[in-house]
């Protein structure tokens, strides 16, 4: 069905070159509506579209479908690529907090002064101008769920932010997404005389904290205002875990730690997001029965310590079991200073997950788990115009990301030429 106004005369003049380039669209171009043609367009929410077209106006997607079914007006700027996918979403990283230089001044991902500090907010630390934000964006990552790293029992609150490189407040989709908890080795300081030093102690402290929050809630509800407690940022955060408005993101790799997380959830009726989960294949039934989604460790994570049992096939196993999951790039303390979730999903794709499921794990499924699927994660009319353009299968090592769109604004893809 042809819907249209005027035949676009420009179309026949366009060269067939893979794409595009000026690094940044000019101010005029940024305001222009964009017609993005893909030899293959993957909306993720629906079947792949050969010869697909995505129309973008005012930062929003206005059409997704076969190019032959749509004629657009001459004011559209035209961009072409072999493959067009939704902007990728990294379901868990520390970008913007753990800066590229790895010097004290750019490392804000872990406050070590106390084991439990739920009051810490990622948004108060996120640096949108850290070079790694632009770096991951250049590979097609347009949204990250970032924040405090695993490494303390309760390390802080995460945020969901677009990789626009503007301001923390302006770029943010969700200023307080989840509260990060680490079980197992990552959550025990392992220093003499400091708690928690064991798994048991960590769980005891966590339970005590939640009990305190329950008590705080009870007092807040007292009819006599004078008897209500003073505001307590820490308790307020734990309260949001109890009422489900801000779930706990529990990093657990060993199967006993995963089970501890599930036990905790059952005791306090919590909704969780499980993070890491190297041993997930050992307790797949239990995870499935609990119904919590998994933000899986990077496929190429180093298999040491609590991650010793990790498998590159776990993503495929989660898929088979029907457990909702996304893939993350995680946290790196040294080199590389960040992983790229595109690469991690690629290896999962090659190790049994397959192309489309891997793509969903870094787009729509990730968006659902971090609660932003009303805005991003798929190419659908009305959603934000966040797209990544590639010159081939995005997961192939030799493919390049050509350009990235966030809210309809174009950013350059990866560049390697010095």
């Amino acid at each position: 069905m042809k819907r249209s106004l005027a035949r676009n005369l420009c179309r026949s003049l366009l060269c067939a070159a893979a794409l595009v380039a000026a690094p940044f669209a000019t101010a005029d171009e940024a305001a222009m509506p964009v017609a993005i043609h893909g030899e293959m367009v993957y909306p993720v929410s629906g079947a792949p579209i050969p010869g697909g077209l995505v129309l973008v106006r005012d930062g929003t997607i206005t059409y997704v479908g076969p190019a032959e079914d749509m004629v657009y007006t001459m004011d559209y700027r035209i961009v072409r690529a072999k493959v067009v996918v939704p902007g990728l979403i990294d379901a868990r990283d520390t970008v913007g907090l753990s800066g590229l230089l790895n010097q004290p001044h750019d490392q804000d991902m872990l406050e070590k002064s106390a084991p439990m500090q739920p009051e810490l907010r990622a948004i108060d630390a996120y640096n949108p101008r850290d070079p790694l934000v632009a770096y991951v964006r250049s590979y097609g990552i347009t949204t990250v769920h970032t924040g405090h790293a695993p490494g303390m029992l309760v390390s802080g609150q995460t945020m969901v932010v677009k990789t626009l490189g503007g301001t923390a407040d302006g770029d943010t989709l969700k200023p307080a997404a989840m509260t990060a908890v680490s079980l197992g080795s990552a959550g025990t300081t392992d220093q003499a005389g400091k708690s928690p030093g064991t798994r048991s102690k960590a769980m005891a402290m966590l339970r005590a904290e939640l009990l305190k929050a329950q008590e705080y809630a009870r007092k807040l509800a007292l009819p006599d205002e004078t008897k209500r407690p003073a505001r307590d940022l820490r308790m307020e955060t734990m309260l949001r875990a109890l009422d489900g408005t801000q779930p706990l993101l529990i990093t657990a790799h060993r199967q006993q730690d995963i089970m501890s997380a599930l036990r905790l959830a059952a005791e306090f009726n919590l909704s969780l997001v499980l993070d890491g989960c190297s041993d997930a294949p050992l307790v797949l039934d239990e995870i499935k029965a609990a119904g919590f989604p998994v933000v899986l460790h990077p496929t190429m994570a180093r298999s040491f310590g609590d991650l010793e049992n990790l498998s590159m096939e776990t993503a495929a196993k989660l898929r088979t079991a029907g457990v909702p999951f996304a893939i993350q790039s995680g946290y790196e303390s040294y080199v590389p200073k960040t992983r790229v979730v595109l690469f991690e999903a690629g290896v999962a794709a090659g190790k049994g997950l397959g192309f489309e499921a891997a793509l969903a794990a870094v787009t729509l499924n990730a968006a659902r788990i971090i609660g932003v699927d009303d805005r991003v994660g798929s190419l659908e009319v009305g959603k934000d115009a966040d797209l990544a353009l590639y010159d081939g299968d995005p997961f192939e090592y030799t493919t390049r990301c050509l350009a990235v769109f966030i809210n309809g604004r174009e950013f350059p893809g990866e560049r390697h030429e010095p």
Binding site: S303, E332, K337, Y397, T398, P418
Partner: protein, 445 residues
């Protein structure tokens, strides 16, 4: 292009060796010999641990005793050579001194480390295992073949004089600069300490030469200086960790002053000084890490290092630096190299022959040519594709990894037990602990 194999050659080869071991022909794969163009529907003939023929399968008729393995649809390329790895938990110098050429990787390596089997799973058949980079000279590196043995002495590559092949690990930049006694605090001091040591080695060598074998005049044996003399004489290659462009040039300056052969390792800023590296005729063993930074010296590292060095005419290879990157993902380095502009042939050479050259072993490994060691891998497809897997790894004609084997599959992909050394298969018990528990309960057989 490779010459076509004649029937006569095959018959001669097989007849002569028949008595001991019959030849095996891998037929039908695309063979990437590295030294020539890929061969569709190829033939790889192996006997006594050596490649005896490589060519087009259609052009030969095989002798009756040749065992045929149909590998139609697969890709065969030389076993990968990793020019910089730490598998086996290898060690070298301790914290007492920044210069310890006497320390040998050989005396520290755990050949049962599961990371060795993971390296085989990644297609690696030869590897330079190195002490760390926290010293100016951290010891003697070791070139290994990942044969099926779990004993380090059986993995050695022997030089004609019987000694194990290896290089000398050196480092500059921030890693060896430490606030501990005896260690340098600046780059200039680092270089001065190294120059001092090489001058000592020159004097040691002069004394030794003057003695003309007279035991009364020979200097007392010095394990460290002996190694540096080997370096001065070109018998041992310096494998030099270096990142920043100025540090790279310092290495080249010292190599020029003392006339030693050097391979530059990591070389994060290589793209900035590629012409200087080319002029010095130094080879580069580079790493691909997924993002820049993590340490100040690697803030400018680029995927394009391979492409820039290739264009400048430098011999360039990839390494894993395992565990910085995992051996199981080694093929990926070449894919990312091509992504950033390297030629396909250059990237595949950078996993194989280029590294063999850096280890001085190019006459034995790194390509599939008649007379070379039968170190090769069988892949499910294009070596540069994320969807390709290593199906088998062969060292000197012996299969050392097979994805079809459940235990090997575990090392390839991971899972419970992949972090353990390979254990004796217990017939009726899941693990040694079950056996102990059963024994305590009086149930052991």
């Amino acid at each position: 292009m490779l010459p076509r194999i004649t029937l006569g050659l095959l018959l001669a080869a097989s007849a002569a060796l028949q008595a001991q071991e019959s030849p095996v022909a891998f037929i039908g794969a695309t063979i990437i010999p590295i030294t020539g163009e890929p061969i569709e529907n190829g033939l790889l003939l192996v006997q006594h641990g050596k490649v005896t023929a490589v060519g087009d399968a259609r052009s030969v008729r095989l002798a009756a005793d040749v065992q045929i393995v149909d590998v139609t649809g697969k890709v065969i390329m030389p076993g990968l050579v990793d020019s910089h790895s730490h598998v086996g938990g290898v060690q070298g110098a301790d914290g007492s001194n920044p210069i310890q050429p006497d320390a040998r990787a050989l005396d520290s390596l755990d050949a049962r480390d599961p990371r060795l089997q993971k390296a085989r799973a990644g297609g690696i058949t030869a590897v330079n295992v190195m002490p760390g980079s926290g010293h100016l000279i951290s010891g003697q590196t070791l070139y290994l073949k990942l044969r099926a043995s779990r004993v380090v002495d059986n993995l050695l590559i022997k030089l004609p004089d019987g000694s194990p092949a290896g290089g000398l690990k050196m480092a500059n930049g921030t890693n060896p600069m430490r606030p501990t006694p005896n260690f340098p605090g600046t780059r200039a001091k680092s270089a001065a300490l190294v120059r001092d040591q090489f001058i000592k080695a020159q004097e040691y060598r002069a004394k030794r030469d003057r003695a003309q074998g007279d035991p009364d005049k020979l200097p007392a044996r010095d394990l460290g200086l002996e190694q540096l003399v080997e370096v001065l004489e070109g018998k041992r290659v310096v494998q030099h960790h270096t990142h920043r462009q100025d540090d790279i040039l310092t290495v080249l300056r010292l190599a020029r002053e003392f006339g030693f052969k050097v391979v530059l390792h990591h070389v994060s800023d290589a793209w900035q000084v590629a012409d200087e590296i080319a002029a010095a005729d130094a080879a580069c063993s580079i790493i691909i890490v997924d993002s820049p930074g993590g340490k100040l010296e690697t803030r400018d590292i680029s995927f394009a290092n391979g492409a820039v060095l290739e264009k400048a005419g430098v011999t360039v290879g990839f390494h894993t630096d395992d565990g910085v990157t995992a051996s199981r993902h080694f093929l990926r380095s070449a894919g990312l190299g091509v992504r950033a502009g390297m030629s396909r042939a250059g990237a595949l050479k950078a996993l194989t022959l280029a590294n063999a050259e850096m280890l001085g072993l190019a006459d034995r490994i790194g390509s599939l040519e008649s007379g070379k060691d039968a170190d090769f891998i069988i892949l499910s497809g294009d070596p540069l594709s994320v969807y390709t897997k290593v199906e088998q790894t062969w060292v000197e004609g012996q299969k050392v990894f097979d994805f079809a084997d459940p235990q090997d599959r575990l090392y390839a992909l991971g899972g419970p037990g992949a972090g353990d050394a390979q254990r004796v298969q217990l017939c009726c018990y899941g693990s040694a602990w079950d056996l102990i528990i059963a024994a305590n309960q009086g149930g052991a057989q």
